[in-house]
Symmetry: D3
Subunit: 320 residues, 6 copies
């Protein structure tokens, strides 16, 4: 039996074994006994799986949240690819590492390497000319490095995978700085907004590999308020930080959703805030578009209906 | 010449002198020279005024923001009462106090006495049973007494006068605690929400007698965010304050506008938060309704069209 | 075999027998034959049930709308508790009463006793000082007592159970009168609004124990119009009822949804109407919140997503 | 001095005398004395007027609400035609009738003759085949003839002139019956809906020639509710009127605004109700369009911006 | 075995054979093997079908998009009628025609005969008096006859069947011309708008019997834009077509959805455009209403909830 | 008498002469005669002006739409700067050119040089790699050069001045291409969208120096539809233009307003279309923001309320 390819590369009629993270598990009673339904992921995608036989033997061999070793073949159910599993057990790290098991390969992740994106981010910060903003951003990167490297940007919707927040921030930094230049905005401020606008997500979400959930503070206070408090506390710790600069940085955090009905209690009132909100919205949308296009199973020029975007998407045009 | 009655008591054809606060002043050029347009207020209301003659003599006798002594008679312009002024000069406190001048009589104010409302508020706080909330609320009252007694609740719209915030809070405390009882909600938490929900307004607005304006932080961060930071800092200073209680109190601040399109980044998720948002909205609306009814000049059963509420209001029914 | 506890008290792995109302029944064909799906309720809640074996024997033993005796054990399907039924038959009242069967125990009901709530309501009416309103309200209670005691306040959404309308009205009377006092509104009028605002529901809905449906008039005219006609007819029968008072009472009925997009053809134009609309909306929402919190099966601090309210709800805080 | 043409025919530089209704009068104080501002109307339109000289002599010669005799010449102010008045006095009927004064010529009116429109309406009613509907409609016409002939359809917006309601109903009857035929709807019901849908306006508005205002019931209950009560009472007086027919007729009244946000508490649920709502909305809009086009003063192909419709309108195409 | 009745006439417990179009086919794996799910249609309606036995034998006997011969009996699943199929195979035209197979009987179609509707349409066009519009419309009918006779008016929602566009246009022509007469609009222009407003649908949709899908241009450009281009090209080919008439015709195409949020980049600015948009919306809605009423399976006076219209519909009243 | 500075440089109390374009002129009758009100513009801004004396002499010396020579001093009316004019006459080009009169100095214009922006645009087009797009864009620039250099981007709102469309396109080209790179979009397509999205404005607006008005086609068809027709015709003239590329380019035109309620009949369905709509909206908003900030007369940190944006704007932060 050969090793299964990455989930994003799974083809029509494949059989083999592989390591995955199990993110959902249900023992569903059916008339003639029981059925195991579960969801598997690796760095490149997610797939539904079913196990029909020997339920008694396998049902305690793994739980949701664990890494597993699986034997399966691909099948199709209602137009969606699935795995028909015949064997499954939790990973035994010492032994399975010899077969090539690595945690990070089994967790849905940003397509780019985290180290590479982190290097890009630090380069951005090094270019900051305003001394107070530079101190502030260096402190953010130093204090929150571990989380900033791993966190998703959201629980679902967009960049909802390991390193997603970093991917989101790095892309916004590139684009935001160009826009700042084009519109004679303060580039340092735009970069500060990019790096800090979602900083409250580090408290809004709790993240275990493959599983982001809302924290109590996330549900009750929300990432905009949590981010404001974090930024205020960091700036309080920097002596001589000008008060109008503080207010402007906080404005970027508070207004970054662009409109009140999107959850920003104040709306953009500066060039920098308008740029930040536009870049944030565009990056979130394009992440969904690209994902919908790349995951669409059909052979048509258009994807199936995308419920959140409320439309189909065109796949037909060759990219450069 | 007799003393003019309070603005709210001004009748059709009155002449006399009085002390007021001037809140607006404009020297308008007209074909045959110039005209002085200004606005006067006392504790009970506001009125437009005009001065046609001896402009040269009077135009430097006062500025907007100053208390003034005025000689005038009432007149009517486009259905609104006005003052036709013949003499005006800034108040000379030592001398004018002998004639009965008192600052607080000349500033638009809540109808109830501030001391009385403050006593009511402290009584509410004394009844709190949760020790942490009691410490928190006592600290709020101690730290912000001066402002909490004077501040308006808004720049325009509702409770936009001296003591307006206190009037708003005291009425909400009465109503909110009753609702907490009726719905088995936590009465202490509701009271905390009532007292803290608009605490950010102390930083959102700057208030000089008769003149509330948005501060830089008010425009850029907004009172919901400012209030959150203030609450977080006060709670950080209280040792042993339970974390779930902190999160709930902050939730009340963040969600008190009830809906995202009204500026709350998170929406009510607890009985207490639903009560607070409902009481806040109702008190703000009823303040506008009562004001519109009492200030309506006409003799009809209905007021003129109220632009903000989008309707006329019924004046016809005898109150109990 | 022991008796099953109340539905709201059903625990993980219970077996026993009990009396219920069956509110839904479906014979679903499956590949290997048929399956009986049905819904059971008692005073405290509702539960889905399935029967797999001996379909031929049981399928004519009961119909939707009948009281049944059931033998079953609890099970879980997709995270929801269910009953796996092994025996079912319609109740035989003479015989089953000996086992403790009582109709009212098997119909989903308000948590408080109907007699107690009714007494509270009559006490409210006795306190009315305006003679015309008192006559009117006494007539309402006399003419519609049977329905007012039993009716739900809605088909689904809120207070959708036996006695729900009474529960809604009694709570609103308590709260509404306090608000009337706080805002110097006419307490008698607010009480009239509370008792009459949903009176059209007696014609809008037809109610059989456990089953509220829209009547023809309910669908075509709606409870606001039906209520207006009922009120007009009752007032026409009271000689000397002042016309402005009639118009105000009718205004309360017409405007009680608060906004046109919520179905009120006229919007509140008096203090009393603003209070009524606010109290109605708050009571309806809090009924949903409390229900969602108490019925939520999970162990988390937050409920699952509440589709109608569009949010999760916080369960974490100890009530007083 | 010659007689002035009808208001709709007034040209650039005309002088003369005429009879009008004065609908507004204001004595505005200006620096050098006073100015009389007033509004005049005749059957064809409305015009602003000013009087600068001999204010003392003329100011008590007339009041708003009176018919007046005027000497004036046309002038232009901010692109709008006006009358510069030199003499004005109230009409002296016995004497002025000799000069051709007739009340109905001085009140803004529907363009078609009221007698002609009334004849058309009775012809429609005679064609009704359903005996109950025929009795009902005959009763409406008999009981309310005087008002139905005179009333405007609204205070402003559309058909806001003498005979406007009749014009609206007659046009809707023609169009509605054709649509009923086209869609195999019940023609009698559609006609009933057309005649009854705005019947509540007879109580919602009080109408004096040239002056429609909202009544107390109009403001507090609204024409949809008032119409429902009127219809119910009339049907109660017709023995044997089928109950489902009654419900359907009432549904037409309640749903005729088509959507809840337009003030209908229930939305159309029958073919007849959909037709009625569509015809009502279209007739109201086309009345505004035609009026805007015919009153537009400019020479361009397009009218000035129409605030209520939110657009300019095309005048350029020759009508058949 | 007898022949099955038309789908719209299928009764509770019928067995027989028939010809249909298969529009959907799925081989669904279940625990004990596989199940064939498919959808069948004839001229009068659509029905779900299942085949449980001899899957291996039947699964290659037909594909979606083919005409089939079926043996089945009616059954009920979750309140909906279905066909339980026992034999199925693709149609063999030469042989099956002898049994009465005709393509057009098996494709969901407008209820009226296409020839009859087409004759009606040409009669309308012959009545046009404006020579340029007559040339234009004759050209449309000549150039697009084949498509205009067959095309549906939409993929789903309304008139979504063979001949649906023609049915929509013919009904709108009747109604639109009457309205043009009633409102002194240009009848020729209204007819031009009726015939051309959806002409872009011929490119927006591709239509195979029983299967309408969006084309690439349909998704990317949309029928309003496509229609504009088609109209411009046709008019360019007619020498002497007046430019203001061209602009007005194009305006009818661009504005026929009535409002920007419904997809019209410009809103109606002429009487003719208002009429066209109203007639289009009403005809689309009434087609849905009539369909919902006629397809509703229940015995109640009201249909089940109509998701798109957001209401139930009244079936209770006898049509004339 | 010295020459007046540019309008944007006018200070408090200046007197002098200058050349301007008069864009509005009104002879307003006042009690004591007449007053001349008019509006003047130069390349840098717009200003209101009044003339009180010698009306008879000056009123025929100029008309709206003419270049004028003015003698005046600055004054302030209701907080806005104005010109009090003492002499005015139309420009006599041969003679006034000697004093430095140049048409382009007197027409409100984009801040950058048109030649410079045009050079930038042609450089963008030269970089296109796709041969068909390159041909298309070269043709656009060749065919419409004169208009593309002069046209404003809108009648009001944003870039509403000479060269405004070019300024808008050039800035969008810079930003759009960067975004295309960042998101691996097709850079050539994005540039095509940038250059063509508003091409319909060349027909939607008619532009005379200082005066943009909607054409008949602009009002009736709109720039999205007009642009589509123009693009289709140009592409039809390019042999071998691939059909999917044509559809994509047309999609960019049709969807560039981003949402249906903003007037796009189809919404973005490709990465390129999302980028184009985002860049268009951001550039239009930032043009308004920058203008509001630079034109705001006050000394506060914040501008006055911006009605269209619905907020004040922050001016307080030093730009880089």
């Amino acid at each position: 039996m050969t090793r299964l390819p990455r989930i994003s590369d799974l083809a029509g009629d494949t059989e083999g074994w592989g390591f995955f993270l199990c993110t959902y598990k249900e023992l569903r009673p059916i008339r003639s006994g029981e059925l195991l339904l579960f969801t598997l992921q690796d760095a490149t995608g997610q797939i539904s799986a079913k196990l029909f036989d020997d339920i008694e033997r396998f049902k305690d061999e793994f739980e949701a949240g664990e890494f597993v070793r699986v034997e399966a073949r691909t099948t199709t159910f209602q137009g969606q690819q699935q795995l028909a599993v015949t064997h499954i057990r939790r990973v035994n790290p010492p032994q399975d590492r010899l077969q090539g098991f690595r945690e990070e390969d089994c967790v849905l992740s940003a397509p780019r390497s985290i180290d590479e994106m982190w290097a890009e981010l630090t380069t951005h910060v090094e270019s900051v000319r305003d001394p107070h903003i530079r101190v502030l951003l260096n402190r953010v990167l130093a204090d929150h490095q571990a989380q900033l490297r791993e966190w998703p940007a959201a629980q679902q919707i967009h960049h909802a995978y390991r390193g997603g927040l970093l991917e989101h921030v790095v892309k916004m930094a590139d684009v935001g700085r160009h826009l700042a230049g084009a519109y004679e905005a303060n580039e340092d401020l735009v970069l500060a907004g990019v790096i800090l606008h979602d900083i409250g997500k580090l408290q809004e979400l709790t993240y275990e590999p493959g599983d982001a959930t809302y924290s109590r503070d996330g549900n009750l206070v929300g990432h905009i308020g949590l981010g404001l408090v974090m930024v205020r506390e960091m700036i309080n710790g920097i002596s001589g930080f000008p008060d109008d600069l503080r207010a402007h940085v906080e404005h970027l955090v508070m207004s970054h959703h662009g409109r009140r009905e999107h959850g920003s209690p104040v709306e953009p009132k500066t060039i920098e805030a308008f740029i930040l909100a536009a870049v944030d919205e565009l990056d979130a949308k394009l992440n969904q578009v690209r994902r919908a296009v790349s995951e669409d199973p059909g052979a048509d020029e258009f994807t199936v209906w995308h419920r959140r975007l409320g439309r189909v998407l065109f796949k037909g045009f060759p990219r450069p």
